[in-house]
């Protein structure tokens, strides 16, 4: 399940090393070659582990026949709807909890009660309310991804230094101006950690919900392949998710670097004169 999470803990510097990515991709390529050899030589039954070449051919065929685009679009559509909703709600709730003791006292027990429940446990109940249409997937993605955003926003706001907060008060910023001009930008590096964690979770729970209550999407595509014993298509679905997850994470890192251009520079110098 760590398609996207894989990159999370890498230090920032490792990502900027020009060769590190090439080394890693070369390793993936080498594993695919080993896979191909194992499969072709029959060490593992090709019915269970088809050759990479067969999977790639089937993949290409599925793309050109338009069999993947529809499910992929559906998966992404639900994922982004739920994820964006979670960003809006999660950031607002987290920032309010971090800036208002009352809101924190009000919401903290509720959040800590709901948060540990594994998302799939909600799905049967949500089906009763929402049916198995798109609304269900969006709700599942929202529930799955909102909590890390709340927690990181709260932590980000709590982590704003006293000097920074006092700077806002000595310049007599209103409560709203303080949140807008000081708190949220200062907390942004921590908030974005939560957003990235949630992006990975959003894809995972979206696909899980499609497999439990499927009407479409890549999860349903894989489920159908399983039921028809089309093993190659199961791999096609997984390959697709791997690439989508990788692309999502790469896009996120690009946006993050744009938003937090100031962060690396300001923290690298912290403590030095």
């Amino acid at each position: 399940m760590s398609i996207i999470v894989a990159n999370v803990s890498l230090p920032a510097r490792a990502r900027t090393l020009p060769n590190s990515r090439i080394i890693g991709l070369a390793f993936v390529l080498a594993l695919l070659v080993v896979w191909q050899i194992i499969s072709v030589t029959g060490v593992i039954d090709t019915a269970l582990l088809p050759p990479v070449s067969t999977i790639l051919r089937a993949w290409y065929a599925a793309i050109t026949a338009g069999k993947l685009i529809g499910p992929l679009a559906e998966t992404l559509q639900h994922m982004f709807a739920g994820y964006l909703l979670a960003i809006v709600v999660g950031t607002i709730v987290g920032v309010l909890m971090g800036t208002s003791r009352f809101v924190y006292a009000l919401l903290e027990p509720l959040i800590e009660l709901v948060r540990p429940v594994p998302i799939p446990a909600f799905i049967p109940l949500l089906i009763l309310f929402l049916g198995i249409a798109g609304g269900l997937k969006i709700a599942v993605v929202f529930i799955g991804s909102v909590f890390p955003i709340i927690i990181s926003s709260l932590a980000g706001v709590r982590g704003v230094s006293r000097t920074m907060r006092e700077t806002a008060s000595t310049f007599r910023l209103s409560r709203w101006d303080t949140i807008r001009e000081i708190t949220v930008p200062a907390a942004a590096p921590v908030i974005l950690v939560g957003l990235r964690t949630s992006l990975a979770i959003a894809l995972i729970v979206d696909v899980v919900s499609e497999m439990i209550a499927g009407t479409g999407g890549i999860g349903y595509f894989i489920l159908q392949a399983e039921e028809a014993l089309r093993v190659v298509d199961m791999y096609v679905g997984i390959f697709t998710l791997a690439l989508v997850g990788y692309a999502l994470n790469s896009c996120f890192l690009l946006v993050e670097r744009k938003l937090l251009f100031w962060h690396a520079g300001s923290t690298a110098k912290a403590g030095a004169n």
Partner: protein, 271 residues
Amino acid sequence: MSAIAIDRPAPDIPGRHNDVHLRNAGKSYADRGRVVRGLAPISLDIAGGSLVAIVGRSGCGKSTLLRLIAGLIDPTAGSIEIGAAALSGPPDQARYVFQDYGQSLLPWKTVMQNVEFGVRHGFRNQAHAHGSTPSESLALVGLAGTGDRYPWELSGGMQQRVAVARAISAQPSVLLLDEPFSSVDALSRAQLQDMILNVWGAIDVTVVLVTHDIDEAIYLADRVIVLEPEGAGIGADITIDLPRPRHQIETREQTNYLAYRRDLFHLVTGE
């Protein structure tokens, strides 16, 4: 760089808008049922337009005093006035320069945007505004032409200049400096001291400086207040009668200077 000589109004005109008065103002804290003294109630009149330094050992309450004037903490006794207005919360007329500039400047804004932040959140009373634009404020602290850079691209001393430019661009009547140069190297510190004299000479502002550096206090101030250890209050109040403009070498070689230094050393250390 040396300080600019200017004629300034006599600092003892009564009732100026940038006078600071502490009237039996003190601060104590409750800590696990015990009352801990931050600063015993003190009375102090700081003349508008003067430059006053507060010195004392760690724990003497000098930062508490400055934070009281800044309205960052409320007095538990007495009251504080700036001009004729009694303080409640951070006063519009005062701006504070923190020791930790790295946590006070906004790293996501350029130097110019940081100074503009000061303008946007400035003192609106135009009667006493000195009207310097952000560029002029930057020039005044010796940072002309650095507006497009980010604070973290600058040295510590330059960052503290940005913080001063941001503070004065808010058109304050009172500028509060909390050990502003203690985290920069000695050479930069001398230049920053002259920068402060330059700014103070150019605009009508009362400066209250907290420092642990006796030399810095004498070199900059009209008046040095020595606080007793453990928040016991004012131990000494010394008028510094040294000619202005002051000069990093010549001023510090004057007999008077050395006498002040000797006196203050004994007063602060208690030896």
